[in-house]
């Protein structure tokens, strides 16, 4: 399964992950990812029938806090970090 990975799959994954990758980068990544995934497929040797996946490692009690509005960061402060802005809005290229 893992060793089936090829250039087209790398291109497809990069597209899904919204990353540009050049042909040189694909040639660089392909053997590395093939090797890593093939090593990692050794997990399939293990029997995990009827085992629930463990998503978070410590069984934490969920807790609720009062729903009180707190002003932590102002709009101006947040917009300071924007690559581009107009007034109180983030500026992005037209998308439609």
């Amino acid at each position: 399964m893992a060793h089936e990975i090829n250039e087209n799959i790398i291109k497809q994954i990069a597209h899904l992950a919204k990353l540009t990758v050049t042909d040189e980068e694909i040639a660089y990544y392909l053997p590395q990812i093939q090797k890593v995934l093939s090593h990692f497929s050794e997990l399939n040797d293990l029997d995990t029938n009827n085992i629930e996946p463990l998503i978070t490692p410590v069984d934490l009690k969920g807790y609720l806090r009062s729903d009180i509005v707190e002003k932590v960061i102002s709009t101006d402060e947040l917009l300071q970090t924007a690559p581009d802005k107009v007034g109180a809005l983030f500026k992005v290229p037209p998308v439609i």
């Binding site: 992950a17 995934l37 085992i51 807790y63």
Partner: protein, 492 residues
């Protein structure tokens, strides 16, 4: 005042007694950074406000106001933690211009305890690495031998701590990123239990594994730092309400009659002779201190590396989806000159903003989560993770703590593994299990190999940080005191 040797309590007491001022302390460390860091590249940013902040603390003391338990202690903070008004880049071009408008909870707690922040520490990009070579600011060097890596990803924190460019530093540990560089640089490093320390304001890499913790020159300083930074936080619902003990007050080096577990699957197969020899010395030392050694079996640790990389890459691919060039972070300059489609805008911004290792892990994670493969990779790893945690819980029925090596070798040479990811990943064999099981772990300096420091790794049951610190304290007490050690880092 000997700033090179002083522990936190001694400095804070001296400040209160006005034997030394916070400004003098800050000046001392700023001068060290100025003169030594060119050789290490351990800082990404030096706090320009430090002297002003030190002066404010001195005034507070003059006015006889109460000061916090870390008053005047100079801390360096890994560049993964948000610091209000100070750049926070995660070592990435993606965040090179990011100045957060708020402090991470951990940073806020240090400041509330009157610690002073000297700057931000270099690291592997987005904490993805074991050598601190993937930062956009260039590699960090090991102060013991600048042709070698300091370990990673908290390599800047460990290197600066070893060279004493700060009194304490903060790192993050997702698969060993505090313990491994602590071992390579000869400092104490603690990864707390998952849920002990708030992750609010810490740049997310793999959320079910990430924990922040201290790197210090001694166990006592690490214990005091933990007291300040642990505890429930309303901004992070995964933090635990477990009581935070007075770790530093409770330190007890008496381990007589305690049981130390050694993992059968590891100890008979340590590849490096110097690491194996040092570990055996640690075992004999523990026996001399009256502890009993018991062999425990955790067979699934052999699968920790694939489990760790599948889970962490999957979580990273999801966490790093937020970097879209819209609200903050890097945006491709191509959008100025050409009409880009939305897809192109995202792809160029992310493709140009992320470095090679980050892209590799995002792609690995995207693949491991993709339709048709997620059962075989991501979910399979999560199922084995449950079994691994159970094997640790069972092992702790037979012992108080588990002791082992931290790394497979002492610090390796720069560029040695950077183009061979599998080789780099396999280096993490001894550290990743701790994060997968959510356990607290630490590295304590113990012995030397090939003129390089090495650490011993201790792992305790969930929320048993006190036990961890006590064993580390006992081992530390058997080592020559820092001031009498003949060997010092080359950059010091």
């Amino acid at each position: 005042m000997d700033f090179l040797q002083s522990d936190f309590v001694t400095l804070t007491q001296a400040l209160k007694n006005k034997e030394v001022s916070a400004v003098e302390t800050a000046q001392f460390f700023l001068r060290r950074v100025e003169s030594l860091d060119q050789q290490l590249n351990s800082f990404t940013h030096v706090n320009k406000e430090l002297l002003t902040q030190a002066e404010e603390l001195d005034q507070k003391i003059s006015r006889k106001e109460a000061v916090g338990p870390l008053a005047g202690v100079i801390f360096g903070i890994k560049d993964m933690l948000c610091t209000k008004g100070m750049p926070t880049t995660a070592g990435s071009k993606m965040l090179q211009n990011f100045v957060p408008p708020y402090d991470a909870t951990l940073v806020a707690r240090l400041k509330k305890a009157d610690a002073l922040i000297i700057g931000k520490m270099n690291q592997d990009e987005f904490a993805m690495g074991s050598s601190s070579e993937t930062s956009t600011y260039g590699p960090v060097k090991n102060p013991w031998d600048t042709t070698r890596v300091p370990g990673g990803s908290s390599g800047g924190s460990a290197a600066a701590q070893a060279s004493r460019l700060a009194m304490g530093t903060i790192g993050t540990d997702t698969g060993g990123s505090i313990r491994q560089p602590a071992s390579f640089c000869g400092v104490v490093g603690v990864k707390p239990t998952y849920g002990r320390v708030s992750r609010y304001g810490i740049i997310a890499y793999a959320s079910s594994l990430d924990q922040a913790g201290p790197l210090t020159s001694n166990v006592k300083d690490a214990a005091l730092t933990l007291e300040i930074i642990c505890g429930q936080d309303k901004y992070d619902s995964t933090t635990s309400d477990h009581v935070v003990e007075s770790f530093s007050q409770n330190l007890n080096a008496d381990i007589k009659g305690k049981k130390i577990g050694v993992i059968k699957e590891f100890i008979h197969d340590i590849p490096d002779a110097s690491i194996a020899k040092n570990f055996n010395v640690a075992v004999e030392t523990a026996k001399d201190l009256g502890a009993e050694i018991v062999e425990v079996s955790i067979p699934l640790t052999q699968y920790a590396v694939p489990m760790y990389y599948l889970i962490s890459a999957s979580e990273a691919s999801s966490n790093l989806a937020r970097y879209d060039g819209v609200k903050y972070g890097y945006r491709t300059p191509k959008d100025q000159s050409a009409q880009l489609s939305l897809d192109e805008f995202y792809c160029f911004s992310r493709g140009e903003g992320f470095g090679a290792e980050v892209k590799r892990r995002i792609m690995l994670g995207t693949y491991a989560l993709s339709s048709g493969y997620s059962d075989a990779f991501y979910l399979k790893a999560c199922k084995v993770r449950r079994l691994l945690r159970q094997q640790f819980i069972d092992a702790f029925k037979k012992c108080d703590i588990i002791m082992g090596p931290v790394t497979t070798t002492p610090a390796f040479k720069l560029n040695d593994k950077v183009d061979n990811p599998l080789k780099m990943y396999l280096n993490d064999i001894f550290t990743t299990s701790t994060n997968l099981a959510g356990l607290p772990g630490m590295s304590v300096p113990f012995g030397m190999a090939q003129q390089l420091p090495i650490g011993i790794q201790l792992t305790a049951p969930h929320f048993h940080e006190q036990v961890l610190l006590n064993f580390a304290y006992a081992l530390e007490n058997t080592q020559p005191a820092l001031e009498t050690r003949k060997l010092r880092p080359h950059v010091y």
